[in-house]
């Protein structure tokens, strides 16, 4: 099936959504997504950041769709034409959605553990405005401990339902869902029951904001001061392939590996996540690839050697003294 997104044509199999097709083309046309998660069935459609305009429905029915559609839940039709960043209407609408997501979100990034790897920060930076027009009291909730490993800050939650779907689909017993409705909705385990399951820790990884954080890592370190490396160990519960975050020689936290769309490659078990916090527990494969756009890559740990070689080449060309031989 042929689909054109922002003027770029691509051939995709039947059943592909517009968002997936756009991701196949690349980040230049892919709309941002806050609630959609490839690995979780029936996710998406809630946050409305991925809305796009369908200017031509299909070859068979060339009428445009009357309203913007959620690209994560709309399947492509043959000959469909889609506008994302090229449509001023969509760019404006997305700005509105970002504003809605932010009006009740506390701007406590300086004390939030998610800062630096928060999707809402990125989204706000790319699509938001610098000033807020909201002048009322923001929604507030008490922080909740979900067991001794996970902390829930409902105040920061954007109700993307990813953790609900994770709990539903990956863990065996569903103990967690959404209570109340409208802007009083809350992610809850009803009586704050511990999510007692080997894979419960994955809700932390899927959370796009700082609503669900790792209690074993909280306030330990800012992520951009740590060094992510890909590592593995033999695990009988999960794949054992993880990302280990180092500060010096110390393992400060363990997460699942994430791809370029910030989605986990494979879910990991709680044992890998919480119980193996020694460097000797892991076989380290090398630095994880982090996007250049991420603040985490500002430590230049990944391409350090290449950068050094590059810098020396330039310096030599300019006639400077070798860095290492400088007095």
């Amino acid at each position: 099936m042929k689909v054109t997104i922002d003027g770029v044509e691509i051939d995709v199999p039947k059943g592909t959504t517009i968002l997936q097709a756009a991701r196949m083309i690349g980040p230049s046309v892919a709309p941002p997504a806050m609630c959609y998660y490839t690995k979780l069935k029936t996710s998406g459609g809630y946050c409305r950041t991925c809305i796009v305009k369908v200017t031509k429905g299909s070859t068979a029915n060339p009428n445009p769709m009357p309203k913007p559609v959620a690209s994560c839940r709309t399947e492509v039709m043959d000959g469909m034409e889609v506008q994302n960043f090229t449509s001023p209407e969509i760019v404006e609408a997305r700005k509105g959605v970002v504003e809605f997501l932010l009006i009740n979100h506390p701007l406590d990034c300086p004390v939030c553990d998610q800062a630096g790897e928060c999707k809402l920060q990125d989204l706000g930076y790319e699509n938001g405005s610098a000033k807020t027009r909201y002048e009322f009291k923001r929604r507030e909730f008490e922080g909740i401990d979900i067991g001794d490993k996970i902390k829930l800050h409902m105040t920061r939650c954007i109700l993307c339902y990813r953790c609900v779907k994770t709990a539903e689909q990956i863990t065996e017993k569903r103990l967690h869902g959404v209570v109340h409705r409208g802007d009083a909705s809350e992610i809850s385990t009803y009586i704050e029951q511990v999510i007692d399951n080997d894979f419960s820790g994955n809700v932390i990884d899927v959370c796009p904001v700082g609503a669900l954080t790792d209690r074993t890592f909280r306030f330990k370190q800012r992520v951009w001061f740590t060094k992510p490396v890909d590592a593995h160990r033999n695990c009988d519960k999960c794949c054992g392939k993880t990302r280990v975050w180092l500060k010096g020689e110390e393992v400060v936290r363990v997460t699942a590996r994430k791809d370029m769309w910030d989605e986990v490659e494979e879910f990991i078990c709680n044992s890998c996540r919480y119980d193996h916090k020694k460097k000797s527990d892991w076989v380290i494969e090398g630095p994880s690839h982090i996007s250049r756009a991420s603040v985490i890559s500002q430590g230049h740990y990944e391409h350090l050697n290449e950068l050094k070689v590059e810098a020396m080449k330039h310096q030599k060309a300019l006639g400077f003294m070798d860095i290492d031989k400088r007095p």
Partner: protein
């Protein structure tokens, strides 16, 4: 005197019982359909009649029925949407309360046409007493053999169930209704798939309003073509209108589509004019979510033609100068009404009823309510009007279900037609409510 097809017997004593209903020609459509017609013939008659969904959207019913997927070996369902929660609308309640058998008769005939072996009546939680009336009527119908196995000796069997909702506006949205009926949280589903393909428990389902289903009986009896003769153009048949507000005779009226709005408001047969000799200020023509119109636009279109009670005429001029027939919740406001306060009441409702799934509606409705509250407190600025306009434009059309639009349209229309009222409050920093209701409260308090 207009023709009445649905509530012509509403004043007959004990019409809620099967005996009296039958004596007045009840269940004749079931007899006619089951004995003399094939299911497709019934559907054809409904198509010919031009009947449009009476729940608000006005989608042609026959077309909706023809979309129903009919795979082999998969059950099909008919669901009656009796979750009538739109502020200003109470026609379905009246129909079910007074003539419950009219609905059940329609359910049987419609189910026969659709080939549904089971049907559900989803009644909103606040109508629990109505649910009891309908349940009692279903019991009577079972006892008399109108429901159950082999109705009238044919091989058509049908079961009808009543389900009482939890009292959420959002469950009037058809996919949220189906979720709720399945026992889940009443959140609207993301479409497609539409219920006609995958509805209740994943099976093909038709969801129709109470009035739509009840209207199938007269269509079968008189024939689709005869029914289509009533009304104008694509607005055929009769419609129940819930008239409320500052009129002399509030209540449920059955009108022939096509009568002038002016006649509906001022004639003695219907609303009987504005009470206390006041002048009319504005009308919300189809339930709280449709755009409000000032007097000059509700009586005459922008072209100067008299406005009629039809889907097309009320919609004339788009949302710039028009509105919608919607569910027929006709709210009339007199000259003392504050549009700002009225809008606040509507917006508070939508904020309270937002399901919270998608962000524009969840966050935007609450924001709009807070800004309108500022107007009532007299602390609003002129820039707040523009902000309000901007927020509603960012909700409209960006949400999963139509609740977002339902919340945005009244705000847009109030600002479009009554901007001066907002600006006056903002400039004077004072909100004065002179409505009759308010003064009444002061006297008694």
């Amino acid at each position: 005197m207009g023709r009445k097809l649905l509530i012509h017997n509403d004043k007959v004593p004990n019409i809620h019982t099967l005996e009296v209903y039958r004596a007045h020609g009840g269940y004749a459509s079931v007899e006619k359909a089951l004995k003399n017609m094939t299911p497709d013939q019934v559907t054809d008659e409904v198509k010919k009649s031009g009947l449009r969904g009476r729940g608000g959207a006005g989608f042609p019913t026959g077309l909706k029925w023809s979309f129903l997927a009919k795979p082999e070996g998969v059950p099909r369902y008919l669901v009656c949407n009796a979750d009538e929660s739109e502020p200003g609308t109470f026609k379905d309640r009246y129909l079910m309360e007074v003539i419950p058998h009219a609905l059940i008769e329609g359910m049987i005939t419609s189910s026969y046409a659709l080939g549904a072996k089971a049907s559900y009546i989803y009644i909103r939680g606040e109508y629990f007493y109505v649910a009891r009336i309908v349940e009692a009527a279903i019991k009577e119908a079972y006892a008399a053999g109108w429901l159950g196995k082999n109705i009238l000796g044919t091989d058509f069997s049908h079961d009808c169930y009543v389900q009482v909702g939890g009292g959420a506006y959002i469950c009037g949205e058809e996919t949220a209704l189906l979720e709720s009926l399945e026992g889940k949280r009443g959140n609207p589903r993301i479409k497609p798939p539409f219920p006609a393909v995958a509805g209740l428990w994943g099976c093909p389902t038709v969801v129709n309003n109470v009035e739509t289903i009840a209207a199938v009986c007269p269509i079968v009896m008189m024939g689709g073509e005869e029914y289509a003769k009533i009304g104008i153009g694509k607005s055929t048949g009769t419609k129940l209108i819930s008239a409320s507000g500052h009129i002399n005779k509030p209540g449920v009226y059955e009108i022939e589509l096509g009568i002038p709005v002016e006649e509906f408001i001022y004639s003695e047969e219907y609303c009987g004019g504005i009470r206390n000799g006041k002048k009319m200020k504005a009308v919300v023509a189809g339930g709280s979510s449709v755009p409000i119109l000032p007097t000059e636009l509700i009586l005459k279109t922008a072209k100067g033609e008299p406005r009629l009670m039809t889907y097309e005429s009320l919609g004339d001029g788009g949302f710039q100068t028009g509105t919608m027939l919607g569910s027929g919740g006709f709210i009339v406001m007199d000259e003392d009404t504050s549009i700002v306060k009225n809008l606040f009441t509507f917006t508070r409702f939508y904020h309270h009823e937002s399901c919270g799934q998608c962000s524009p509606c969840r966050e935007g409705t609450g924001w709009m309510e807070k800004i309108l509250k500022k107007f009532l407190n007299g602390t609003a600025n002129e820039s707040d009007v523009e902000l309000l306009w901007d927020i509603q434009s960012k909700i409209e059309g960006k949400t999963i279900c139509p609740l977002g639009e339902a919340a945005a349209w009244p705000v847009a229309a109030a600002i479009r037609h009554f901007k001066h009222e907002f600006l006056e409050i903002a400039r004077n920093k004072k909100f004065v409510d002179v409505s009759h209701y308010n003064r009444l409260n002061k006297v008694t308090a």
